[in-house]
């Protein structure tokens, strides 16, 4: 089970980030939150998810099995990069 978490965890965090950020942004826009507040909330969430996406990477490095250590490290790096890239628009685009 721990193996699966290490292998899939990074991208599970990416999926959770996707759903949460997309939903928060849509809700904020729909309810007419002030721009600055919405952006601050989104940035705080993004920072949280970026940190969270590093956890599976750390788990993978402690795994005893060489196959899983290497494969899970690769997916972990890819997932962290995906979190940073996919949601970078939050930093510079108008939220609504």
């Amino acid at each position: 089970m721990r193996v699966l978490i290490a292998l899939l965890g990074g991208f599970l965090v990416w999926s959770a980030a996707f759903l949460a950020l997309y939903a928060t942004q849509a809700t904020g826009c729909s309810l007419g939150w002030p721009r600055g507040v919405l952006r601050a909330v989104l940035i705080a969430m993004l920072a949280g998810f970026a940190l969270l996406s590093l956890v599976p990477l750390a788990l993978a490095r402690r795994s005893a099995d060489p196959f899983l250590r290497r494969t899970a490290t690769l997916t972990g790096i890819a997932a962290s990069a995906a979190v940073a890239l996919c949601f970078s628009g939050i930093l510079w685009m108008a939220p609504c």
């Binding site: 826009c29 099995d65 996919c86």
Partner: protein, 800 residues
């Protein structure tokens, strides 16, 4: 026991009888072949429809077809190719190959394969009959409302799509469960996760993607059918619904679907290329990591089909970047294949020719895909023939060419004969030239502004381009006819061979060809990665019984292993041939027919019959405790093990079901935020009655066994029924309609829980654990469902 005696003994146990008894077949070799043959028949039908389209478009102002006929023809071309050809074909390939590649004697749930096949065959046949009768779906293969709503498409045409496709998708869901459980549990001894043949990794990922990819489509279909049949306005903007909800649900399925189709084909390439390069796949680990990345990223980009629907730029950027990012893991695989060929010595045999066809066509399709991922460019070519060209490059390049490579590679295994190389080259080049002639300059047709689905035009430049496309289309057809002829000749007159003609290192080539029904005389013991095996030596060993479970005992036995380490854990008994799947599928068809013709009492009667028949499947004999597995090993029978395949199946079903439930909640949230006409004038007031199902569901999560669970499910059902009575007029506005949908969803789950709980009381084997898994999930989702109506009234500004 000599190999011949073992063969006869096993064949008596595993074989399917002749004549009408073939309808009772559950064996994976037979099912795999049936799926593939049926899919090819549908491919031919879809191809004929494509020819009709190209004839219509060959000249401007063509009098060939009426607009209505044309609408049915292009809708059915898409429906047939996506739902009745591509998915079932790779399901068939997986069913045929996976057990043989993994070292198992069959799939985990053979009767489920058979049930899925019949559902697919009956559903597909319904669609084709509708086409012949002139009442085929005509609203485009993605059936966008409001065009497909009752107002604009009265009659049964859209219902045939919604119900027929849902019926066919039963086979996709059952195949997904089967594929994942088979790969995780049914393998040779010692085949740990890092020793899986690469094709199994691909199919494991695809199976997982299907489990979460199809439920949104099935949910959307049910909601749209509820709107058409009962007037619940989920997609009607005049009553608080939103047609965009359909687009979200459809593409939430539809984009992952592209990768669900591409990955099995890529798995074929990763298997075939190393063999013909005389080396191993470069970067096995990197490819597995790329697969994981792709599986997730491909879900985060469905909105790239909806760039022009007015979504805020920030959220568009999420989808646009994911759409571009998903090209990276794809590129990783392409480089792995190129690297494999670079380090080895590629032999240019027929499968490799098709691999080269794949490289050229798919890379072109991938590049135009990255172009389309960019929002401004997509705005320009949205819904034009540029998109049509792109999708054919991706799907034909990414599925048809690799599968033709696979066909030449594995057909010798299926029929025991080798290609004779007469027509194969000519067929390939005709298809390749014809395909590019049809679609390459269709990019230009699109850039010039010709929209997809248009059935006549007047611009003379478009006429030249379209005529060339039509000529190309007919050349392609001639190529496919040559290919079909070549394959038939191969099967009839091919050169017989003994074992492993290509020098492969995977287990399926250790079986005799054509393969016997039991696949392996003994279950192999694996000591290295399962695509570097000594096939010749192992083949002789297994036939001679050097392996596990070599002594026939009268049962259909295969080995169950630990999913991670591949250590033997249990002996799995598989079912004998039975007509139950056929009867169950016929009863299920009755349910859909009742709904199609709106005779609901009939549908309910057939639903009861279906449930009854499905319950017959589980009538278990008493399981023996511990059995001798050979080679000095004793293992428990799967029913007395604490980790049987059926428990995995129910967990996977819960994952799929939870996806459907999450999609439903997403849909409700989407309507509340985006649909016009919210908040409703008349808020939904249900009152305190929901406290009963909430508390009963909470209790279920603790008391998930025995009589307590049955009583709690009954209480949930009663509470929900009372609450449903108070919803009010669900046809008036989408708010009461979504409340109705969420509560009905919970009620269906409580009903299933009631049946499972009652069955578990009879106390067969692991039924208790299976029912408990369901009760806990139903409890959790039911609590959320009970909270939904008050939450919605709070959000719409009216306390419950």
């Amino acid at each position: 026991m000599t190999p011949i005696e073992r063969h006869h003994a096993l064949e008596r146990i595993w074989g399917t009888g002749p004549g009408l008894q073939r309808l009772s077949a559950v064996n994976h070799t037979i099912m795999g072949r049936r799926f593939m043959i049926a899919a090819l028949v549908f491919f031919a039908i879809g191809g004929i429809l494509a020819m009709l389209i190209r004839t219509q478009l060959a000249s401007a102002e063509s009098p060939f077809m009426e607009a209505e006929t044309y609408a049915q023809v292009f809708t059915m071309h898409g429906v047939v190719m996506m739902f009745l050809f591509a998915i079932p074909f790779f399901e068939g390939l997986a069913m045929y190959l996976l057990p043989k590649m993994l070292g198992a004697r069959d799939m985990a749930f053979p009767r489920l394969s058979a049930y899925g096949f019949w559902c697919y065959a009956f559903g597909g046949a319904t669609l084709v009959v509708a086409l012949l009768l002139g009442v085929a779906p005509n609203a485009g293969w993605f059936l966008y409302p409001p065009l497909s709503s009752a107002t604009f498409t009265p009659g049964i045409q859209s219902d045939i799509w919604l119900l027929g496709i849902t019926f066919v998708e039963i086979s996709a869901m059952s195949a997904a469960v089967e594929i994942v459980v088979t790969i995780l549990k049914l393998r040779g001894a010692g085949m740990s996760l890092d020793r899986l043949p690469i094709f199994a990794w691909y199919m494991l990922i695809v199976g997982g993607m299907m489990l979460v990819g199809f439920p949104p489509l099935i949910l959307g279909s049910l909601l749209l059918e509820a709107e058409r049949a009962f007037g619940l306005p989920f997609f009607d903007p005049l009553r608080g619904g939103d047609p965009l909800l359909w687009q979200h649900l459809f593409w939430l399925f539809g984009h992952p679907e592209v990768y669900i189709i591409f990955l099995p084909a890529a798995g074929v390439l990763s298997t075939v290329i190393p063999v013909f390069s005389g080396t191993q796949l470069a970067g096995y680990r990197v490819v597995v990591a790329a697969l994981v990345a792709m599986a997730f990223l491909s879900f985060g980009l469905w909105v790239h089909h909806m760039y022009t629907t007015g979504i805020p730029h920030l959220s568009l950027s999420f989808f646009s970047i994911s759409s571009a990012l998903v090209a990276l893991p794809t590129a990783v695989q392409v480089f792995a294949w190129l690297g494999t060929m670079g380090t080895g010595r590629p032999r240019l045999s027929i499968p490799m020719l098709h691999v080269f066809g794949f490289f050229f066509v798919f890379v072109c399709g991938g590049l135009s895909g990255v172009m389309l991922a960019m929002v401004p460019f997509d705005m320009q070519v949205h819904d034009t023939h540029f998109v049509v060209a792109h999708l054919h490059y991706v799907l034909v390049g990414g599925f048809v060419f690799p599968m033709m490579a696979g066909a030449y590679y594995w057909l010798p295994h299926i029929c025991g004969r080798m290609p004779v190389h007469q027509m194969s080259q000519a067929a390939f080049w005709t298809i390749f030239a014809g395909f590019n002639l049809t679609f390459l300059h269709m990019h230009l047709t699109g850039l010039l502004g010709m929209t997809r689905r248009s059935y006549r035009y007047s611009d003379p430049l478009w006429e030249v381009l379209n005529l060339v496309s039509s000529i190309g289309g007919f050349v392609t057809t001639i190529g496919f006819a040559l290919l079909a002829l070549d394959l038939v000749l191969l099967m009839r007159f091919g050169r017989p061979f003994r074992r492993n003609p290509w020098g492969a290192g995977t287990l399926e080539w250790t079986t005799p060809t054509p393969p016997p029904s039991y696949a392996f005389g003994a279950i192999p013991v694996i000591d290295r990665r399962a695509d570097r095996l000594e096939v010749e030596r192992m083949g002789a060993d297994l036939a001679a019984g050097r392996g596990l479970l070599a002594t026939p005992r009268g049962e259909l036995e295969t080995l169950g292993v630990d999913p991670i380490t591949g250590a033997p854990r249990q002996i799995i008994f598989l079912p004998h041939p039975t007509y139950l799947p056929l009867w169950s599928a016929l009863a299920t068809m009755g349910v859909f027919a009742g709904m199609l013709f709106k005779v609901y009492p009939l549908a309910i009667a057939f639903a009861a019959l279906t449930v009854g028949l499905l319950l017959c499947w589980t009538r278990g004999r008493k399981a023996p405790g511990v059995l001798d597995a050979g080679m000095g090993l004793s293992l428990p029978q799967h029913r007395s093990s604490d980790d049987p395949p059926s428990l995995w199946a129910i967990r996977l079903l819960v994952v799929a079901d939870a996806t459907a439930f999450a999609s439903l909640l997403f849909g409700a949230g989407f309507l509340w935020m985006s649909a016009p006409g919210w908040p409703p004038e008349d808020p939904v007031r249900i009152g305190g009655i929901l406290a009963l199902p909430f508390l009963a569901n909470a209790a279920l999560m603790v008391l998930a066994r025995g009589w307590a669970a049955v009583a709690l499910q009954a209480a949930v059902l009663a509470g929900l029924a009372a609450a449903l009575m108070r919803v009010g007029d669900a046809t008036a506005h989408a708010a009461p309609a979504t409340v109705m949908a969420v509560l009905s969803f919970a009620a269906v789950h409580a009903g299933i829980g009631l049946i499972l709980g009652a069955v578990a009381l009879r106390g067969f084997g692991r039924d208790g654990a299976i029912a408990a898994t369901w009760h806990r999930y139903a409890g959790l989702s039911g609590m959320l469902a009970a909270l939904f109506p008050p939450a919605l009234s709070l959000l719409t500004g009216a306390p419950a």
